[in-house]
Amino acid sequence: MGTRSPYLAPVISLGTIVGALAVMQGLITAEIVSPYVVPLPTDILASFERVVVEEGIAGRFAVTVGETLAAGLLIVLVGIPIGLLLYRFARLRTAFEPWLATIAAAPLVLAYPLFLVLFGRSSLTIIVIGFAAGVAPAALPQIFVGLRLGLIFCLINVVGVEFLINLGGLGQLINDLAERYDLPGTYAAICFVVLASILFFAVLGRGEKWLQRRR
């Protein structure tokens, strides 16, 4: 069996993205796909600069990061001690680990209207939901994996609730642009959030590996 070129997989990967965008551009230009439903990829690309400059994406990014960090700090302060307690006392672990796993898998974000009642339509609500979503996985005795999962859940919920209650950083931006029917801007903002999330997950992955090595 011949060895495969190490560039083949990245070329296929990149080629697929470029190919899909080109096909979409063609379909929309030919109006087979309505431009009022899906904007031209070139329009989305062009609107990146506008979204960054006019919509204050740096400030919104800072708000989302700030809320995530605040919730993340709470997760670390509460989740890690609970995790250590469960690690130290076997019978507590046997009793409550299944509860934590159940809470970690529960769709707690659905309770966001409840948090709105408790804390009002404010950043505090977003932070508390981020914390609530991330603390159970972070408290699981597999501390490094749990903490990474907890922080991922935290970011997902922070951005999601920003979108749902139309408040805060990047999530609100998408909601705003969609309500203004700025389709290229909406798609560009979604791409930006996806890229920011990927960056966050990559940093967390690296952090987890670093912590595992130092253990």
């Binding site: 991922i152 997902i156 979604i190």
Partner: protein, 262 residues
Amino acid sequence: MAATAQITGAPGQVNLSVSTIRVVGALVLLGIWQGLALSGFFFRDVVPPLQKIAHGLVALFGNGAFYSNLAVTGGELALALVIGGLAGLLVGLLLGGSELMSDAYESWLSYLGPTPKIILFPVMIMLFGVGSGSKVAMGAVSCFFPIAISVASGMRGVDPTLRRVGRSLQANAWQMFLKIELPAMTAPLVNGFRLGFGVAMIGVLLAETKLSNQGIGFMIINAYARFDMPQMYALLIVTIAFAAFVNAFAERMVRRFGARTI
């Protein structure tokens, strides 16, 4: 069973069974709740006493609108799982069956999988309208990723000896898949559907809370708008308990098929 096992501690320590610890834990939590509810710190019904929540649950189960909305959400969720599940299964099989495909595309799945899907809701509305279609699409997109990732990993984990046995018995591709690969990866497949069910449920219900006039998500946001807190608590308890039940059942199935869940 672990749940009822008597765990012995050091001499002189009080030996409490795991069940006792759980009962005590549950009673402490309920006591704290009831204390907060009766403390007067919170505005009326924001933290309702337990008896009011129980009354809300009884009222919910006696409400005909609950069942019609449940049918809407259940239908959307089922359709989302079928569409997202089949797409995830197909993509997972393709990626798990080819090293090149896996190298080219699987990192996309791992990175896109955990991104917040609810931000795609405006796109789904444009593509599928404000009705059930956009909710089904949200659920399908949400469950596609964990299912595809689990299936790809399960496909790669099939013991090569089993495949060799299949080849030696001259099994064709379909027989190889149906008789050897599928049974060998039952655990990751069930685990993928377990994870997929959870995120699909979140996707569908959150979309219903954002823009809908039917479904359980709509009922939750409607209860919030009317400040009907007992009903909102009842709906949240039923929804989260149902998700927890399905998750626990699927987890038990996964363990039965011999895999660990994280």
